[in-house]
Structures are given as structure tokens and as C-alpha cells.
């Protein structure tokens, strides 16, 4: 067996383990929390009084306009100066959640806005309240518009979790770095890490396709025909 293959197989266990207990939980948790934050932010942008909406606009401006790595450093290394000390995983989770929240709020705002005004009126006309209309009529239709760009964000996030290595989270990429430090085989180990990320994002792409088929099952958007 060639040396590179032996090395890859020997290190596979620790890389997968790091992926399983850090990369995947960090991805799933921060996406779920970030998406909820993004939905709340989108609803505030669209429907809340102007000062609140301006606050959200400011938040999105900050978190989309600064590098994710800098945000992580600020939270993990910067906040202790004002007495807020977080463990590395929590700091990463907060950073990713805030970042995902900013991006997904814009996606959801556009998707909710894309549902025809007439759908609100139809929902109201059968007696629905605002929240019933939102839940039963608007969000299901907005989700079909939102899924492709949300999937982009999700897939970017899987790869971006490697930035957590820089604030000492022992995730997949950091596991690779540690093995490199003892074996001096950066090419082989980093290729291996890249392949695992590629596998993870391929799984997500496949799930996205299935979700899109399900969301598109009801055919074209209804338009007046004349």
C-alpha cells in the first residue's frame, strides 16, 4: 500500500471524529439558530415600525460587511477584555449564528416579499389572521423561492466552520493541522480534509435537490390567464 494511502486511512478516524463532534453540530446548530434569527429579522424588516427595522438593517450591515474570521476573533479573543469569556465552541456558535442570521434575513425578506399581495388578501378574505396567513399561505410559498439561496448559505457554512480552527475549536480542519504537525505531510492531510468537506457539501446538495422537487410539486405559479 502506498505511503499516502496508509497515512490517509490512519488519520481518517480522527478527522471524521472531529467532524462528527464539532463540524457537524456546529453547522447544524448555527444554521438552525441563524435561520430562526434571520426569519425574525426579516419579519421585523418587513412589518415592524421603522426604528426597529432600522436596527435590523444596521445589524445586517455590520455582519455582512465584516469578515467572518474577524467576527470570530472579536467574540473569542476580544470580548474577554470587557469581561465576557466564552469557551471556543460557544464563541464559534455565536459568531456563525449572527453571521447566518444576517445573510438569511435578506433571503427570507426577498422571498416573503415575492409572494403576491393577492395571496394575503385571499387568506384574509377567508377569515385568517395575520399570523395564520403568514404561516399557512405566505411562508409555504416563500420557502420555495428561498430554498436555493438558503442552500447556498448552508453549504458555505459547512466549509466556513473550518475558520473555527483559528479560535481553537478542535474541528475537522484543526484535527488535520494537528496530524500535519506530527507527520509533516500537509499535502496529503489537507487533501483528505478537503475531500471530507466535499463529501459533506455533496450530501447537502443532494438533499437540496430532493427538497426542491418536493416544494415544486404543485406546478407553476398561478397567474391570471386570459
Amino acid at each position: 500500500m502506498p505511503h499516502w494511502l496508509t497515512l490517509m486511512i490512519d488519520s481518517l478516524g480522527s478527522l471524521l471524529w472531529a467532524g462528527m463532534i464539532f463540524t457537524i453540530p456546529l453547522t447544524l446548530l448555527s444554521f438552525a439558530l441563524g435561520l430562526s434569527l434571520g426569519l425574525a429579522a426579516a419579519l421585523i424588516r418587513l412589518f415592524a415600525p421603522a426604528p426597529l427595522a432600522a436596527g435590523i438593517k444596521f445589524y445586517v450591515w455590520i455582519f455582512r460587511g465584516t469578515p467572518l474570521l474577524v467576527q470570530l476573533f472579536l467574540i473569542f479573543y476580544g470580548l474577554p477584555s470587557v469581561g465576557i469569556v466564552l469557551d471556543a465552541f460557544t464563541a464559534a456558535l455565536i459568531g456563525f449564528t449572527l453571521n447566518i442570521g444576517a445573510y438569511t434575513s435578506e433571503i427570507l425578506r426577498a422571498a416573503i416579499g415575492s409572494v403576491a399581495r393577492g395571496q394575503w388578501e385571499a387568506a384574509y378574505s377567508i377569515g385568517m389572521s395575520w399570523s395564520q396567513a403568514m404561516r399557512r399561505t405566505i411562508l409555504p410559498q416563500a420557502s420555495r423561492v428561498a430554498v436555493p439561496p438558503l442552500s447556498n448559505t448552508f453549504i458555505s457554512l459547512v466549509k466556513d466552520t473550518s475558520l473555527a480552527a483559528a479560535i481553537t475549536v478542535p474541528e475537522l480542519f484543526q484535527a488535520a493541522q494537528r496530524i500535519v504537525a506530527t507527520t509533516y505531510e500537509p499535502l496529503i492531510l489537507y487533501i483528505e480534509a478537503a475531500l471530507i468537506y466535499l463529501a459533506l457539501s455533496s450530501i447537502l446538495s443532494a438533499l437540496q435537490s430532493r427538497l426542491e422537487v418536493r416544494l415544486n410539486r404543485y406546478g407553476g405559479f398561478l397567474e391570471a390567464r386570459s
Binding site: S125, G127, F221, L222, A224, S226
Partner: protein, 257 residues
């Protein structure tokens, strides 16, 4: 009176769309709101179920009454209590595209009125039979023709047994043949005594199905009366001009004037 409007004013900025309209509609009436585009008929219709909030005036439907004043916000529950007496059919159907035909009809019953699913389905099937679409119960709306979609929309509007059916240009997005099947369904409902108010350009709806006609122009009532009289012996010059333009358009269910 099932519907009472008093001195309804609606302004969009500086533009006055409804200029102090008062009218009452008795239970069982079938009323057509006609008049040139931009005359305010659609806005008036939408003021009855408060999809349009009047700037001032009083709206009462089946005893639930709200008085509107400029810059005074009316609580949502009051608006919903007026609205629940009405059902509405839209020009562009506005079926819920992500729900099947029968789910469109059961949606209000299940979500708003908390009916058990089985009972809602039963009621929905009766309504779909009435509009001739029971065989399409489980398809997606996008697979239906415009006329079929509008008939489903009528069934959806009738599901919660509203006191009044409001129709906003129900045939004007349809080809004449497809409009015909919608006209037939509305004619049946009229015969059964359903109270209906329709904003329309469609001569068939206005002259043969509606029993009375209200002519609106520039946000005010020009003339009102039994539809036979309005169409054969209009009193006002503006009504005559409007009817002439409709006749010129031919008896079509199609485009507006």
C-alpha cells in the same frame, strides 16, 4: 339590511377614490357595481370586507358595525368580525397554489373555524359538486383552466357560509367561453337567494344576473335602480355613455372597456 354603508370616504394621499358613499343592501339581493375603470367600484367592494380600510364612514355587515375616522386605527378583531360575514372572489382567482383544490376549500374551515378535517372535506365536496368540480378535488390548481380555478375560488369563498358573496370582476380575466361557466355558477347562486355584490364590466353579470345596479363614477353613485331600468331607461347622461360603451364592447365576458 345585511350591508349598510354610511358616508364612506376613501383617500389615497390626495386622491379621493370614494367620495361619501352611502348605500344599503338587503339580504338576498344581487347587486352589480358598474361604471368606468377608476370609478371606485372595486374599492367600494373591497371596503365592504375591509380589504380596503375607509378613511372615514361606517361599515356594517350583518349587524357588526365599525365607524372609521381619519388617523384612528381600528382593532384587528373588529375588522375580522365584519369580514367573517363575507366571502370574496377575486379577478385573478388567487387560489392557494400550494394546496390542492379541496384543500383550498377546506382551508378556512379547518384553520379559521377549527372544523374537524373530515367534516370540512364533506362540506368542501358538496361545494365542489355544486360548481361542477368534484372530480378535480385532489389536483393542484395550476392544472386547471382559468374558469375552473374561478369556480374553485367561488367554492372556497362559500365554504364558511358567509352572509354575503363579494365578487371583484369575477369574469374579466377569462376568455368568453370560460367566463360563461363562471356566469352560470353565479346565476345558480343568485337563484338560490345568495346575497351577492359584484363589481363587473361583464354585461351578462350586470344585466341578467344582478337584480339591481349601482353606477359609480368618480367615487360617487351616479344612478341606482333595478337592472332592467338602468340598462333600458338610464336617467343620467353618464350612465347612458357608460352603457353605450358596454354595448359597443359586445356581450363579452372578456376584457374591460
Amino acid at each position: 339590511m345585511i350591508i349598510e354603508l354610511q358616508n364612506i370616504v376613501k383617500k389615497f394621499g390626495d386622491l379621493t377614490v370614494l367620495d361619501g358613499i352611502s348605500l344599503s343592501i338587503a339580504e338576498g339581493s344581487v347587486v352589480a357595481l358598474v361604471g368606468p375603470s377608476g370609478g371606485g367600484k372595486s374599492t367600494l367592494l373591497r371596503s365592504i370586507n375591509l380589504l380596503e380600510i375607509p378613511t372615514s364612514g361606517t361599515v356594517a355587515v350583518d349587524g357588526d358595525s365599525i365607524e372609521f375616522r381619519p388617523n384612528v386605527k381600528v382593532p384587528t378583531h373588529a375588522i375580522r368580525s365584519v369580514r367573517r360575514h363575507t366571502g370574496m372572489v377575486f379577478q385573478n382567482f388567487q387560489l392557494f397554489p400550494h394546496r390542492t383544490v379541496i384543500e383550498n376549500v377546506t382551508e378556512g374551515l379547518v384553520t379559521v373555524l377549527n372544523w374537524p378535517k373530515a367534516r370540512a372535506r364533506e362540506r368542501a365536496m358538496q361545494l365542489l359538486e355544486k360548481v361542477g368540480l368534484a372530480h378535480k378535488a385532489d389536483v393542484w390548481p395550476s392544472t386547471l383552466s382559468g374558469g375552473q380555478q374561478q369556480r374553485v375560488a367561488i367554492a372556497r369563498a362559500l365554504a364558511p357560509s358567509p352572509k354575503v358573496l363579494l365578487c371583484d370582476e369575477p369574469t374579466s380575466a377569462l376568455d368568453p367561453e370560460l367566463a360563461g361557466e363562471v356566469v352560470d355558477v353565479l346565476a345558480d347562486l343568485a337563484r338560490e337567494g345568495t346575497t351577492m355584490v359584484m363589481a363587473t364590466h361583464d354585461l351578462r353579470l350586470a344585466s341578467s344576473i344582478a337584480k339591481s345596479v349601482i353606477v359609480l363614477d368618480a367615487g360617487a353613485i351616479v344612478e341606482m335602480g333595478p337592472s332592467r331600468d338602468i340598462f333600458t331607461r338610464p336617467q343620467q347622461a353618464r350612465t347612458k355613455r357608460f352603457i353605450a360603451s358596454l354595448a359597443h364592447d359586445g356581450v363579452s365576458g372578456g376584457e374591460g372597456i
